[in-house]
Symmetry: C2
Subunit: 214 residues, 2 copies
C-alpha cells in the first residue's frame, strides 16, 4: 500500500494518524504541494482531484479524499475501529468530523490562502485575520459539541476516534498560524491526550521523511 | 422528526433529497439564514454550530451536519440505501461526495461570500470570479471522477446514491450563479436524470414552503 502525502497537509496528517493507530504497514511518497507536485500529470492520473492525500491499495486502486480513505481503511483493517457502529456515539463523532473537515479546513487551506494573496491581493494581515476568523468560529462550535458529550480523555470516550484524527491536525495548524486558542480548553485537553500517544507522534508533520526544514 | 432547513441552502437540499428518496415523513422548519435566524439562541441550543440543516429525531436528539444526518438516515431508514456497502462502489461514491462537500461547497457558501464583501471589500466582479474559480476546479475533478467510473444514468449506476444527493444542489447553485458549465457534460447528464425524479423535484428549493420570492 502506498500513501501519497505532504508532511504539512492536515488532510494527509489525518490519514497518517489513522494508519498509525491501526498499525498498517505502507510506503509513503512525499508530494510537495508548495511547488505544485500535485498538478504533475503522473499524480493527476492517480488522483484527478489534484489534492493530497491519495492511497494506492494493494489491488492497485487509487483513492483520493482523506475521509474516503479512512472509511476504506476502517472497513479493510477493522482493528482499532475509528468510527463507532452505533448511536449516539456514531452521530456525535461524525458531527464533529464534518464541523472540522467541511466548516474549517477547506476555507483555510493553502490553495485558498494563495488565491486571497495572488488574485485578491489581500494583505498578510488580512489573510491572518481570515484564518483566525474561521478557526474562531469553527473551534467554538467544536468546543461546544465536545462539551455537550464530554466523557473521557479523547473527543468521545477513552480511545481516539475519527474525530480525534481530524481535530489534532486542525489544532496543530491553528497553533502554527499563531491563533488565539485560549477559548477552547476541552479541544486543548484532547489535543494533549492524543499527541502523547505513539501513533499521533509518528504521524506528526515534524516526523515525516518529506519534511521541509522551516 | 423535524428538519430545520433553508430553501436555498445546498446542505439542506442534500438532506431533503435523501429524505424524499427514502419517503421519510417529517416536519420542515424554515430557518432564514439571510437574516441570521441560525444565530438565534433557540436554534443554537439545537445546533451549536449555527448552520443549517439540523435534524431532530423522534427521540429528541438534535444532529447537525448534512452528511452526518444522511449517515443517520441511511442507517435508521435502510430503504433506498444511499451509500453502497461494498467496494469499489462505496469508495467511488465517497470520493465524489467529499470532492463536492469538502472541496467546493464550503469555499463558496453564503458566510464566506459575505466575508469577502463585508470584511475584505472585494467587488461583486471579484466575488463572481472567486465563485466561478472553485466551481471550475471542483467540477472538473468531479467530471473526471464520474467519467472514470462511468456507468448508468446516475453518478454511479442506475439509482441515485449519496453522490447524486450532493451533486444536484451544487450544480443548481452553480447554474444560479451563472457559471459556465459547458465543460461538464457528464455532470449535466446526471443532473438532468436526477431532476426528472419526483424525489428530487420535491426537494428542490423552488418547491419549499420557506421559499423567499426572488
Amino acid at each position: 500500500m502506498k500513501l501519497y502525502s505532504f508532511f504539512n497537509s492536515s488532510a494527509s496528517y489525518r490519514v497518517r494518524i489513522a494508519m498509525a493507530l491501526k498499525g498498517i504497514d505502507h510506503q509513503t511518497v512525499g508530494v510537495n504541494i508548495r511547488i505544485g507536485q500535485q498538478n504533475a500529470l503522473e499524480y493527476r492520473r492517480l488522483n484527478p482531484v489534484g489534492l493530497v492525500p491519495a492511497l494506492i491499495t494493494d489491488d492497485g486502486e487509487s483513492l483520493g479524499q482523506s475521509l474516503a480513505i479512512i472509511d476504506w481503511l476502517d472497513r479493510h483493517f477493522p482493528q482499532t475501529p475509528l468510527l463507532p457502529a452505533n448511536d449516539p456515539q456514531r452521530m456525535r463523532v461524525l458531527e464533529v468530523v464534518y464541523a472540522i473537515c467541511c466548516d474549517i479546513h477547506p476555507i483555510n487551506n493553502m490553495r485558498v490562502l494563495r488565491y486571497l494573496s495572488d488574485e485578491l491581493k489581500v494583505s498578510e494581515e488580512q489573510k491572518k485575520r481570515w484564518y483566525a476568523h474561521w478557526i474562531q468560529q469553527g473551534l467554538s462550535a467544536v468546543e461546544q459539541l465536545l462539551r455537550r458529550s464530554q466523557s473521557g480523555a479523547f473527543c468521545f470516550g477513552d480511545a481516539p476516534t475519527l474525530a480525534d484524527c481530524c481535530l489534532v491536525p486542525q489544532w496543530a495548524n491553528a497553533e502554527r498560524m499563531g491563533c488565539d486558542l485560549s477559548g477552547f480548553p476541552r479541544c486543548k485537553a484532547v489535543y494533549d491526550a492524543c499527541t502523547a500517544l505513539p501513533a499521533f507522534i509518528a504521524a506528526a508533520p515534524e516526523n515525516q521523511q518529506d519534511k521541509i526544514p522551516a
